[in-house]
């Protein structure tokens, strides 16, 4: 019965009038706004909604005489964290959607090409061995090295078959996991603790400087995917179909992989490994709106941002102490993924 219900829901959305579907798309596109406002009201520092609105007005020139610590909490602690959570959510979701399109596989996440293993190794290297190397830079570099290695391993005679790409991603992941294990064995307990904490993923060290350092690549990657999104519909049909309509599939595969990897690496570098967001958000949207990437990509950006920031609200305020956000995304994501598998026959792919 659930399968029927899930499919009926999807069919209902597709068959509904343009206005209804358009309204729903509009609603999802605007979701980050209420999510942002709600998130700005949540925190462990005692501030009333009135004070928060007052502080925002103060930025526009109205001095309402609030203590400077209020401004620090809102503009130096809460705002960069909320924005970073939204940015990371957008990036992981949009790169997940792009990878799923390229690979024509619903089980793909942004981490399929070894990005997370590479980043974890890079972070571990910095935290446990090469202390002068900043964690963010090391994680970013090694995540790109991993993706690059997987891509070049899979490319033969100018072609990059999807199956080869998946397999090389698995191999590269395994190699970096083994290297990570070596670092973990070699380092002291305190470094090991830091590595494990980093790997759980967290926004608790969000700052403007981190946001500024990752934003350019995040924007470049997301914009690239957004602008070229209609080509994902053709890539999702397969290489032969793409060639038959005059599109060079290898060229666009490479463009999408580079754009998604750059964006996802910049997100992982600042927030650690946050699991399942890149898998479940595109799935949720595909279940509701279907597989058209022209709609799916912009919605992944906005819904991913809203989803991630609300999950981070739980991580930082639900119990009064910090829980790594990666734990919550997994705890929410895993049962939802199980539901999707049962309710929609592979999450809207059939």
């Amino acid at each position: 019965m659930k399968i029927e219900y899930g499919r009926r829901w999807q069919i209902a959305v597709h068959n509904s009038s343009f206005n209804y579907k358009g309204m729903l798309i509009g609603l999802f596109l605007l979701l980050p706004i209420p999510a942002f406002l709600i998130s700005m009201m949540i925190g462990t520092f005692p501030l009333t909604p009135g004070e928060i609105v007052g502080l925002m007005l103060a930025r526009l020139g109205m001095d309402l005489g609030y203590p400077s610590v209020y401004e620090t909490v809102i503009f130096q602690v809460r705002l960069p964290r909320v924005l970073m959570a939204m940015m990371v959510g957008s990036i992981l979701s949009v790169s997940g959607a792009a990878f799923q399109g390229i690979f024509r596989n619903p089980l793909v996440s942004p981490y399929i090409l070894g990005l997370s293993s590479g980043a974890a190794f890079g972070a571990a290297l910095s935290l446990g061995v090469i202390h002068w190397l900043p964690v963010q830079i090391s994680a970013f570099l090694f995540s790109l090295i991993a993706v690059g290695a997987a891509y070049f391993m899979a490319t033969t005679k100018g072609k990059t078959p999807v199956v080869s790409l998946v397999l090389s991603g698995v191999i590269i992941s395994a190699v970096f996991s083994a290297l990570l294990a070596i670092v973990q064995i070699a380092v002291d307990e305190k470094s090991l603790q830091s590595i494990v904490f980093w790997m759980m993923g967290s926004m608790n060290t969000a700052s403007w400087s981190k946001l500024e350092s990752s934003l350019p690549l995040a924007l470049a990657g997301c914009l690239g995917i957004l602008i070229l999104r209609w080509r994902l519909n053709i890539l999702a049909l397969g290489d032969e179909e793409a060639l038959s309509v005059g599109m060079n599939p290898e060229k666009y595969k490479a463009i999408f992989v580079v754009a998604a990897a750059l964006a996802a690496s910049s997100a992982v570098a600042v927030a650690g490994i946050i699991g399942l967001v890149g898998l479940i958000v595109p799935h949720m949207l595909r279940m509701i709106f279907g597989p058209d990437h022209r709609v799916l990509i912009p919605l992944s950006i906005t819904f991913g941002a809203a989803f991630m920031v609300l999950v981070d609200d739980l991580a930082r305020a639900a119990l009064g102490f910090e829980i790594p956000v990666g734990i919550i995304t997994t705890l929410i994501g895993a049962p939802f993924f199980a539901y999707l598998l049962r309710a929609t026959r592979a999450g809207g792919w059939e």
Partner: protein, 344 residues
Amino acid sequence: MKIALYLAGMALCLALAMPAFGEPVELTDNLGRTVTIDQPCHKIVFLVENALNTYYSVGDPQSVLAVGNNIFKSELKMPFFEAVDPDFGQKGKIGFESGLVNLEALAAEDPDLVVLWATSPEAENLKAINDTLGIPVYAVFVTSIDDMYKQVEDMGIISGRVERASDVEAIMKGYMEEVTSVTDGIPDEERPKVYWMWTDVLGTTGRNSGFNDIIYQAGGINVMNYWDNDASYEEHPPVPLETLISLNPDVIYMWYNENLDPEDVINGTDFAGWKDINAVKAGRVYEIENPFLFDAFSPRMPMALMHLAKNIQPELFADLSIDDKLDGFFVEMYSVHYPEYEHT
């Protein structure tokens, strides 16, 4: 008659020689487990560094059979270990794989006793060594200053040098009292609120922790005592930054951190959100710069206490010079001079 005297003499000799052959004694470790050992132990493996430091102040270095290869910042400590135990370089080194001790390497050493860090009687390493190899295990889990004194006493029992252990405890207490005699009477409301920063920055020391006690004895009060959350009682709770800002500590004390300096906390761009915290505004951010000298959970605890006290209560301890104390302390505790580690 002669035969009777001869037999009585033999019996007396045997009785006197008994401790050398090993006399079974029971002691309770930090997890409340009863450990039965032959006193004195002659072949001990130390998989935890703080107890090794304690043992070297009390026992015979020849009884240390092997040590774990997990010594934090070992390059900093090697000259000291080699001074107090000339054979240290040749001792066996027991490795770990993903936190699990190498059982075969340990079994090959054939120790009488293994001393390790464990937070629970169900800890994997503890059970593996005790149950699988059948070797007695003394578990170390220091969560208070009293645990540290108990460790000194227990190392005295293990080494069969109870009197020396009493002396070491008295030496430590003597140095500690130089600080506590000044700070004991300070009311809580007049103590600076101290945030202890572990290397994970927003991870701190909870109310049920050894550093909570050390901070108090140094004349401050752990800021976690003002956090109304059950997490504040944990040994190492994570604190949301907004909570830390609202708790507003007067002093921030950093554990030794290779990636961060007090200046980064005071002026670093990544710490812009910290700028309204009293400690940052007043520039009162300090770091344990030497994790060997000021290791609070080793017999050098009094030196760590003095380090904290000088920064937490600078006016009360303006005349206290730690540099002047170090040499005398090392001589009394380890019979070596500091910093050359030459024997007395």
